[in-house]
Amino acid sequence: MNTIIFLQTLLIIVALTVTFLKDNFRMVIFFSVFSLICSSLYFFYMAPDLALAEVTIGSAIVPLIFIIAISKQRGFVIINDLEKDDDFLSKESEKGIGYKLLSEFAELYKLNLVIEDYEDEDDTIFGVFRVRNVDLFVSKKHGKYLLEGKSTNIIMNKLAQMAKDYPEIDVVFVAEEETDD
């Protein structure tokens, strides 16, 4: 009986810790501790079946999903819709001013640049689940490079400010639904 009361007290403390923590990674670890205590409580209340399910789902799979989601947050996804021989976004050559600007921008906010080519047809299996979160869409019109981003994205203002030094780059704001997600 004493063990159950001790575990219940511990469970309340860990639950409050999860609620008030600011650090995301620590919160995930405390969440899995919460699941472990919960599953031992299930065991003491004569439900070993539930305890097994809780210990696998709650302390391994859900934290893994959270960790992946947190590490995905740091990405800045760019879709590249330029010609193949256009070196606006290329890393190596001197002409890659777009890459220079964007990498400066990403360094400022500590983001990872993810540059992908534009595909019309997406017939891979992952396409079924996909509502993609595209941050920037790069294309070329009338000799000017267009960088289209969502107007709801706050850090886009900073990008527009940084792009003022380059006369051949235009930063365009579009509404939430109009981007090519």
Binding site: D49, L52, A53, T56, A60, I61, I65, K72, I125, F126
Partner: protein, 134 residues
């Protein structure tokens, strides 16, 4: 991101034991706590733990999804056998009068295929989730 050596070797040590425990829970599902779902989740955990140390272990997702579909069909087929032997859907297909040794075949087979289905399903979900933003 650099992974620490301790984490790598612990994952390698844990992997066979966790997968063996998963199989044990699946196969003993009819006489002990656990069963298809719990054992399948443990099996999936064993494989997903290795995601921490190396990111692309699952290469052929389509094969996994196909295995999951076939496991699902097999579960329905095993349930459907009783329609011919006892005239009822999704009950034990072995006659009531026979010994308990033969009756448990139904439970073991169902638990086994449910375990495969849950394990492949969970691996597919998380692999898709990892693949998503890249």
């Amino acid at each position: 991101m650099k992974t620490s050596e301790i984490l790598k070797s612990m994952c390698k040590v844990l992997f066979p034991f966790v997968s063996m425990f998963g199989l044990y829970v699946i196969i003993n599902g009819h006489i002990s706590p656990g069963g298809g779902f719990q054992g399948g989740a443990i099996l999936a955990t064993a494989i997903l733990i290795t995601y921490i140390i190396e990111l692309d272990i699952v290469e052929n997702l389509t094969l996994l999804i196909r295995i999951e579909k076939y496991a699902f069909l097999t579960i329905i087929l095993i349930g459907g056998i009783s329609l011919f032997t006892r005239g009822e859907f999704f009950t034990n297909f072995i006659p009531i009068g026979s010994s308990i040794v033969y009756k448990r075949i139904f439970l073991i087979a169902l638990n086994f295929f449910i375990g495969i289905k849950v394990a492949t399903g969970l691996i597919t979900i998380i692999s898709t989730f990892i693949e998503e933003g890249e």
